[in-house]
Amino acid sequence: MRALERHRKLTAIWSSEPGFRGWFSTVNHTDVGKLFLVTAFVFFLIGGILAMLIRAQLATPHSAFAGPEIYNQIFTMHGTIMMFLFAIPTFEGLAIYLLPKLLGTRDLAYPRLTSYGYWCYLFGGSMLLVSMVLGIAPNGGWFMYPPLTGPIYSPGINTDFWLIGITFVEISAMAAAVELCVSILKYRAPGMSLDKMPIFAWYALVTALMILTGFPPLILGSILLELERAFGLPFFQADLGGDSLLWQHLFWLFGHPEVYIIFLPAAGVISTVLPVMCRTTLLGYGWVVAAAVALAFLSFALWVHHMFTTGIPHMSLALFSAASTLVAVPTGVQIFAWIGTLWKGRPELHLPMLHILGFFVTFVIGGLTGVMVAVVPFDWQVHDTAFVTAHLHYVLFGGFVFPILAGIYYWLPQVTGRKRFFRLGEIAFALIFIGFHLTFLAMHWVGLLGQRRRIDTYLPEDGWTTVNLVSSVGSFIMAMGIAIVILDVVVHVLTATRGPRNPWGAGTLEWAMIIPPPAYNFASLPHVASRDPLADDPDLPLRLARGEGYLGEPREGRRETLMVDVSSGAPEALVVYPANTRLPVAMAAMTGLFFLSLLLKFYWAVPIALAGVAALAWRWVWQLGRSVDEAPAPVGHGITLPSALGADRSPGWWGTSFLLVANGTFFGSLLFGFAFLWTVAPGWPPPALFEASLGEIAVGVAALAVTVAAVESAVRTNRAGGRPLAALLAGLIAVFCVVAVCAVMMARIPAPTEHAYYATLLVLTGYALFHALLTGLMFAFLIARVRAGFTSPSRRAEFTIVSLWTKYLVLTGALVLAACQLPDLFT
């Protein structure tokens, strides 16, 4: 087959629908990645405009620009948009767009999930914007501390928009995180062992794992606060056994890792772009990987350094202060690796390099002020002042925006296939750099002079007037720089001339394809033998286009790629992707209906939305799989591989495993909250402990045991070639016994509005009930699949997935039983 014919055939298979309709049905990572990035930058602009409004307000004392109520909404939405609707989605968009190209494959692991994540992000973000337009935007600050945001002090709908909207948006982050973990570990070019992975993939993997374990505490906190606001469950009310400090713990368990979730992808961009700009390779690749991993873990033990002024024990202050200073070490390792790369190479001062230098200066200053606030006595002085605001902007703007701008200018030719013509970018960089430092150096200063953060005005005699004016002027200079970047990019996209295929002379695989990239990425998949495959083999693009790699022969109109071994990158199985569909947008709309019903308190619509989500999920999964066995197929290079559907560890198994890691973190956070309230909160012990029932314990334990035995029996029977309907039916009945036990326990819990203890028990049993219902649905699905002939010994993936969920139910169900029943038995 000639290269052109292959291109046409692959394009027909992989393309999105033409025109506007294609936006709603595309599941292609290139399309969805671009949608993510464009949407994130729209949110960035909105957040930036809000920042300018803040600076306009603070430019002069006694400002009458905005009243306190509107000003509260402005700064809350500025922080919320920048953190949740710009930074994280920009990482998601960049990773979704780039990773399959960098990894030498055709798409991410779950293309429909990619699309679903995007629509959840767009709908959830839009919900927040609508609140702003209506003048009822969240107004409690981006970290939403109760009791200020509780039902007593914030009775309006503003806070609900934040809690529900952000939880909706976080579905997108969780979806992307699961997708990225599986894609990086299992969907790489054959031969790409862990040591040959592009450095950006390592950073993306670490970041995705952090999202999986960092976001669940915030999701839990948001659910608990919303339950308090909507139904009066007093998790954060001290007089009823709650504690507002629980929110701070849950929020910062997310919030501090969030800083590194934002920084690490940007560091990945630096580690990718810098060596190319220096005409060399990254110095200390292995040390950089180790530093990124160490940084990720350290970042999870720093959350209390946001709470140094809350009166926690001295030793705890010292523990977190020590851990906070330690984080400078792996950060320093990376900085020195980059400096070493500069040293050993021949740096060329292209536009991406300017932004990298901007990053160096800014981020190092932010890091140093970070060490300052890690020292407890200093933190006590500057806590909640503009100094902290300035520090976080140095870290986030320096550590994220400059690298992302470097990345935009570096990969723009790859996205558009054009070369830069105008030189607006250099002017923009100068304005952004000067404007940024003017704004935030001044803000450090005014913070040290005592200006509190989030104040809407101040007096002339405070002595902050000139510094604030300088800061505001700087912010407007920076805004002009950002506007010029956007102008530059738009002009480039619309008017620039076609450019060469690999303008920077890079060695990574995203440049080994036609640019702008075709929907299928690679006409055939490369075999990777080094970290810079394109640098080692400049003819690689040509050979891939000729079909000399893997999967060079399109067949049966199927979207095919390969799954590989995690460590060695040896090809393991053939994967067939689903095609374009509107299912993800429909599913996101139905998910949105669920959140909207909660927000507007249309509780009658909640079961309808949940049933809709369940029905669509059923359809989603039903479309996968085949009703006949597939023979192993040749994939090129003389290799024949089985279908991924026959593997015990199928793509779905991997995705489920990572999702359960996140779910387990959520459950662990709930148990932590329970233990925290029991140990620390005032108003304990509760009026009476939940009365233990030996009957519930016996039935619950027996039902859980039967459930897991049934699913294991079903797995074995299917593997032996039988139809395991009896085992599945027994499992289904056992699951409904678990549901019944949970329901009875929930009914016996004393009024949950009277004490946080009862409220927590209600949430724990509700969690177990939800998972029992979910597992029941999965058993019902498996029964339907067996009856419809979708299973066989070589089509067994669904059994192992349901087995995972069942084991999770057994574990969490047993813990819930213990948490509810044992305290009464042992007192």
Binding site: A290, A294, P313, H314, M315, A323, L326, V566
Partner: protein, 106 residues
């Protein structure tokens, strides 16, 4: 996946130890034992120092394990990175939990 686990094991154990010592301190401060003593050492301090020692021992065991042919990865790269993260875990445990020796308790 075993190789990935080798890389993250030591920092993961450090995170668990750090959280456990923090929780233990909160528990001991919240539920008495502040005044109880064993000789010149308070019971609370003795428990926390014991936990510190255990955390260091665990980290040392992992580090030794990562060097042993039976547990080490066959990939030189993974071996190198896992030993580096192992050292990071050990240093993190030694430094971040040191306040149990030096700081006032509650």
């Amino acid at each position: 996946m075993t190789d990935v686990m080798r890389i993250v094991l030591s920092p993961l154990v450090w995170l668990a130890s750090f959280s456990a010592v923090y929780g233990l301190n909160g528990l001991l401060c919240g539920h008495g034992l502040v005044d109880a003593a064993v000789g010149s050492l308070s019971v609370q301090r003795a428990i926390l120092v014991g936990a510190y020692g255990l955390a260091l021992a665990l980290q040392a065991a992992i580090l030794v394990g990562l060097h042993m042919p039976r547990f080490a990865s066959s990939s030189g790269f993974v071996r190198g990175v896992s030993v580096a993260t192992g050292m990071a875990g050990f240093v993190a445990a030694a430094w971040s939990l040191m306040p149990v020796l030096t700081t006032s308790l509650c």
